[in-house]
C-alpha cells in the first residue's frame, strides 16, 4: 500500500542534475575513504525532519541497526502521516520498520492472537488502551519503566515522557507502570451548531440537564433538524464509548472492591438519561449510528449538536464534505449531577511485544520513542506536507505551540479552548472498567445499552441482565 503526501513540493523530479551526480560521486568517494564518516554525513538531514534534533538525544539511535520490525496499525489519517515520515526513522536508526494496516474491527483479535501465541509477528501495534490489563495480566508486553529509566535507551530530558497528555499516560499504565507510548489521542467534546444556538439565544450546555434543554430548543424534525445525537451502535468502542462518560459524570463507580458493578442507581440514572435523550431528540435509526454516521449527519446540517471525539472536527469542518463550515462551535463535556465532566481517554499507543529478541525490543523501543517524540508529532501535524493534518497530538506542549494552535483554531469557535481544557481537566483513566476481561465486559454492556435504547428491555432490566452476565464472566 502506498501513501504519498499531496504536496507537490515533495515530488521528486526525474531529472538528474549535475549537482546530484557530483554529490553521489562525492558521497561514494567519502564512503570508500572513511565508511564510518559516511553514516553521519548521509543522514544529516532526514526527508521530513532534521535528524540533528534526534541525534541531540544522548542515545545511540543505531543500536539495533539491521533489525526488521513490523508494526500493525489501522487505516486512519494519523497513521498514514506516520507511514509517510517513517523513512526518516529507517534513515536515523537503520532499523527496517514497516507499518501494516489492519481494519479496526480485526486489529485487536490479530494482536491478541499474535501475543498469546508468542509468534512475535508484530513488534508493536496500535493498542487499544482498554486491552492493557489483559496484556499485562498475561505478561505479553514489557513494562516500559525499564526502558524509560535506562539512560542507554532513553534520554529522559529529550524524550520528556511527562509531557505526554496525563490522561493518555494513565490509560496506558497498569498499577502505575507504563506499558505503551501514546501516539495519537483524543478528548470528547461537545460540538454544536453555533448559528442555530445563536438564533435561539442559547449557549452550549454546562450540565447534562442543559444539554437536554438545548436539544429540545433546537429540535425541529419537520425541518430536518434533530436536537442531538450520541453513538448508538452496539460495541465496546461505540455506545460503550459514550455511556461510560455519562455514567461517571452521574457519579458511578465501576468497582465495588473486586466486583464490577454496572446496575448501581447511578448506572440506571445514566442509562435512563441516555435512552430518553436519544429517543426524544435523535434521528430515527440512531441505535445503528457510530460516530462517522453522526459526523456525516452533522455535516449535512441535520443535527443541533453531538458529543464525540475532538478529532471529528476535521470531518465536520471539511469544506469538501460539510455544509456547516463556519457555523460550528465547541465546548467541554457537560457536567453531570456529580459535578464532573468526564471525557474518554481514548488513544492509540505502542507497547513492546514481550516475545521479541532483546535486539528487536530495542528496535521497537526506538520506534515507540521516535513516534511519540515531539519532533514526529510536529512532523505529522502542522509540518506535515500533505493535506491531512492530525488533531490528536499526544503532547501537552504541542497544545501550547502557536503553530499547532493556529492549525487547530481553523475548525471553529472555541475549539482550542474546549480541547485544551478537556485534556487538562476532564480526562478520567477510570472512564471505563479497566480489567483483563474488558473485551467481554465491554460487549455485554454494549448489548445491554442498545437493547435499552431500542426498547427491548427497560434500562433497569437491561442493566440487571448485564450484571448477571458480567458476574459470570468474572467468575470465569
Amino acid at each position: 500500500m502506498s501513501h504519498k503526501p499531496n504536496s507537490s513540493g515533495r515530488a521528486r523530479s526525474g531529472l538528474v542534475t549535475r549537482r546530484d551526480i557530483l554529490k553521489t560521486t562525492l558521497a561514494g568517494a567519502t564512503s570508500l575513504a572513511a565508511p564510518g564518516l559516511m553514516i553521519g554525513r548521509a543522514h544529516a538531514a532526514g526527508e521530513y525532519m532534521d535528524l540533528a534534533s534526534f541525534q541531540g538525544a544522548g542515545i545511540n539511535w543505531r543500536m539495533a541497526e539491521g533489525e526488521k520490525i513490523t508494526i500493525a496499525v489501522i487505516p486512519a489519517g494519523y497513521f498514514n502521516n506516520l507511514e509517510t515520515v517513517l523513512p526518516d526513522f529507517v534513515t536515523l536508526t537503520g532499523v527496517e520498520a514497516r507499518l501494516e494496516m489492519i481494519p479496526p474491527g480485526q486489529i485487536r483479535q490479530k494482536a491478541v492472537l499474535d501475543l498469546s501465541s508468542k509468534t512475535g509477528t508484530y513488534a508493536s501495534h496500535a493498542a487499544d488502551p482498554m486491552y492493557y490489563e489483559l496484556y499485562v495480566a498475561n505478561g505479553w508486553i514489557d513494562p516500559l519503566d525499564d526502558y524509560l529509566g535506562d539512560d542507554k535507551l532513553t534520554d529522559a530530558a529529550w524524550f520528556d515522557y511527562e509531557d505526554i497528555q496525563p490522561g493518555h499516560r494513565g490509560a496506558t499504565s497498569v498499577d502505575g507502570r507504563p506499558y505503551g507510548i501514546p501516539y495519537d489521542g483524543e478528548a470528547t467534546i461537545q460540538i454544536y451548531r453555533k448559528d442555530v444556538y445563536d438564533a435561539k439565544g442559547i449557549a452550549p450546555a454546562e450540565t447534562l440537564d442543559e444539554y437536554r434543554a438545548n436539544a429540545e430548543a433546537v429540535h425541529d424534525p419537520d425541518n430536518r433538524l434533530w436536537g442531538c445525537a450520541l453513538r448508538g451502535f452496539r460495541g465496546a468502542g461505540q455506545n460503550m464509548y459514550i455511556y461510560p462518560s455519562i455514567f461517571r459524570s452521574f457519579g458511578g463507580e465501576w468497582f465495588d472492591g473486586e466486583r464490577v458493578v454496572v446496575d448501581s442507581p447511578e448506572a440506571l440514572a445514566a442509562l435512563e438519561y441516555y435512552v430518553s435523550l436519544l429517543n426524544a431528540y435523535a434521528p430515527a435509526g440512531v441505535e445503528n449510528w457510530n460516530w462517522p454516521d453522526i459526523a456525516d449527519a452533522f455535516s449535512q446540517g441535520t443535527l443541533g449538536s453531538y458529543i464525540d471525539a475532538h478529532g471529528s472536527a476535521a470531518v465536520v469542518a471539511n469544506p469538501e464534505k460539510s455544509k456547516v463550515v463556519g457555523n460550528i462551535g465547541f465546548a467541554r463535556w457537560p457536567k453531570g449531577p456529580s459535578g464532573k465532566r468526564v471525557t474518554s481517554i481514548w488513544n492509540w499507543s505502542f507497547p513492546i511485544n514481550g516475545a521479541l529478541s532483546e535486539k528487536q525490543k530495542q528496535a521497537t523501543w526506538l520506534f515507540a520513542q521516535w513516534a511519540g517524540s515531539k519532533e514526529v508529532q510536529v512532523a505529522t501535524t502542522y509540518n506535515y506536507p500533505g493535506a491531512y493534518k492530525r488533531t490528536g497530538a499526544n503532547r501537552a506542549s504541542l497544545w501550547k505551540d502557536a503553530k499547532f494552535l493556529e492549525l487547530m483554531s481553523g475548525f471553529g469557535h472555541n475549539y482550542v479552548e474546549a480541547a485544551t481544557e478537556s485534556f487538562a481537566n476532564d480526562t478520567d483513566p477510570d472512564w471505563r472498567p479497566r480489567l483483563p476481561q474488558w473485551p467481554a465486559v465491554g460487549d455485554t454492556m454494549a448489548t445491554a445499552i442498545q437493547s435499552a435504547l431500542v426498547g427491548q428491555a427497560t434500562p433497569a432490566a437491561a442493566l440487571k441482565d448485564a450484571q448477571e452476565k458480567i458476574d459470570k464472566i468474572l467468575k470465569g
Binding site: M1, S2, H3, K4, T70, I74, P75, A76, G77, N80, R98, E100, M101, I102, P103, P104, Q106, Q109, K110, L113, S117, T119, T121, R224, P292, A295, D296, A297, S299, Q300, T302, G311, S312, A314, V315, E320, K321, S322, K323
Partner: protein
Amino acid sequence: MSLHRRAATRRKVVLMAVAAALLLVWVFPLIWAVIVSFKSESDVLAYPPTVFFEPIGRNYEDALFGDFSILDSLATSAIVSVSTTVLTIVLAVPAAYAFARLKLPAKKSIGFYTLATQMVPPVGLVIPYFLILNKVSMLDTYTGMIIVYLTFSLPFAIWLMVSYMEDIPFEMEEAAFLDKATRWQTLWHIIIPQVRGGIAVTVIFVFLNAWNEFLFAVQLGGNTVRPVTVAMYNFVSVEQTLWAKLSAAALIAMLPVVIIGIAAQKQIVKGLTIGAVKGGGRR
C-alpha cells in the same frame, strides 16, 4: 371465458409485481452502490438524495490509483483465487470420480469426513491455521493462503462434483471399458465432457468464495498477501467512511466475478438442471 382470461392476466401482473418487489430488495444495494460511486462525497449524504447530478469518475480513479489504490490487491486476489480454483478442480475431479465410481474401502466414512471438515465454523479454524502457518513460516505468503483456501474449497468441490458424476449413466463408461480404455482415459474422454456444466458451477462457486473471502485473508495475510476484500477496508477508517470510493472499489472488485458469471452462464444453467434431475443414480 373473458373473466377467466382477465383473472389470469391479473394473476400475472400480481406475480410480476411481487417478483419485482422481492428482486428490488436484493438489487437495491447494488443500484445504490453504482449511483454513489459516481457522486462526490458531499453528494452521497445529501438530503433529499440528489437524483440529477454530474457523474464523476474521480472515485474510480482514486480507488485504482489514489492513496489507497486497490490495484495491487486486485492482483493478489486474482493470484490467490485463480490458483485456488485451478488446484481445486485438478484435485477434486479425480477425487469425486473415485467417490462416485470406485470400490474404495470405507468409502462412506471417507465421504463423510471429507464433508465434516466443512462443519467447523471458519472462526474456529482461524487460530489453529494461524499457529500452523506461523510454525512453517507461511503467514502472509501466497502458498500459505492458497493451501488454507484449498482446505475449504476442496471438500466443497468434491462433494458437488460427486453428485454430477453419479448422474452419468454407467453404461457410457462400460462401453469405453469394452474398448479397452483405461480409467484415466474414461475419465478424460467420457466423464469430464459429460460434467462440463458441473465443473463450470464448481469453478464459479470456488472462485467466488476465494475472491470474496475476508476472515482468513485478514488474519493470515499481511502486507504481502492483501486481497481486495481487506484492502477495501481502507475506505472505512475509524474517522470516516468514504462511501463513494468504497462503492467504486467494491464495483471494481465485483467485475471479475460478474464477467466469469456471464461467460459461464450457459454452462451453469445446464449444470444446475443436470444436478437437479436424479436419473442415473448410484450403481
